[in-house]
Symmetry: C2
Subunit: 213 residues, 2 copies
Amino acid sequence: MPDLMSAETPTCVPEIEFWFDFGSNYSYLSVMRIEALAQARSVRVRWRPFLLGPVFRDLGFDNSPFVLQQEKGAYVWKDMERQCRKYGIALTRPSTFPRAALLAMRVALLGAEEQWMPAYCRRIMQLNFADDRDIGSMDVVSEALEALHLPGQQIIADAQSDANKLRLREQTAAAAAKGIFGAPTFFVGDEMFWGNDRLDDALDFCDSIATRG
Amino acid sequence: MPDLMSAETPTCVPEIEFWFDFGSNYSYLSVMRIEALAQARSVRVRWRPFLLGPVFRDLGFDNSPFVLQQEKGAYVWKDMERQCRKYGIALTRPSTFPRAALLAMRVALLGAEEQWMPAYCRRIMQLNFADDRDIGSMDVVSEALEALHLPGQQIIADAQSDANKLRLREQTAAAAAKGIFGAPTFFVGDEMFWGNDRLDDALDFCDSIATRG
């Protein structure tokens, strides 16, 4: 006998959009944390890689504020040490910061809906922020994919297609259009949350919507 | 019989330095929260009013980043609404932001070690961020002091002495020398914590020191 009730009730899985860049240190914290936190609340993560550099440039900054402002930059790595200790996340201050990671980002865009996306993102972030590897190089991206038993060569070729390159530019423009000015940024519906410090609030907000819904 | 043990053990009350400006919206959250949180952990609060404007100017900004950066500014008031709701703190977006509050700050410096300091700071902050009153005016500062049954006229006269004016300039220079680039900022010993979001971490750090000590 068909279950008419469940056929008529749309399955409403609350979603959180997660906008991030592999070069962003506070995105590192969220990449490492978000999957477990979201799963525990039955929230679906929509991964939204975008390029923070062009967004900063549009806002009039030619680099990360953590580089442009010396005092803030000095503080941020102290803060990162403490935050990583608190969350049990490894940290080695990258010898290059922020690291350009264009290919890794293009792969992330290509894989955003794939099952391997969370693990791939964690792997790239750990290579950057725990192992101090150059995630801008094809070798490192390839290594990350192969560690996950993925067809690295094929994925990299697809990631470098003109269509995928264009999509990343479009996604970056979309980030700016949404009012994003830093990373990580989360959206729950139209509600914007900036910074790893707001990840829990954003997930709480998902719960409040689900309860209302 | 004298208790030799306790006579030899120095009383070690952990302290947190709280650097703030009445014009700063995230300082508002910390002013409203810090006393209860610190008391619950037997931590002593050392109030350190300083002028954020000159610190920003030294760093090359001629106004708050929340004014200079339109996108961040728009976000910040949304964030403030949510944060205030979370903490149960009233909020009316001030019609002037950031509000200069030189006299109120001078009074705060004068009263930093006084018993009335926490209540005075909360009162001024509420006038600014909940009642949208001009805390830059002498009338409003006077009203705040008198609401606390303090001799407003005398305190204001003392606050405007050359010596106290100089002390506020010195305290502001000290803030910059400590690497402060925003408010609120907390220090526990040499350990710096920036932002209301780090108040709990800073207090946890007090506990860890007290345990070690």
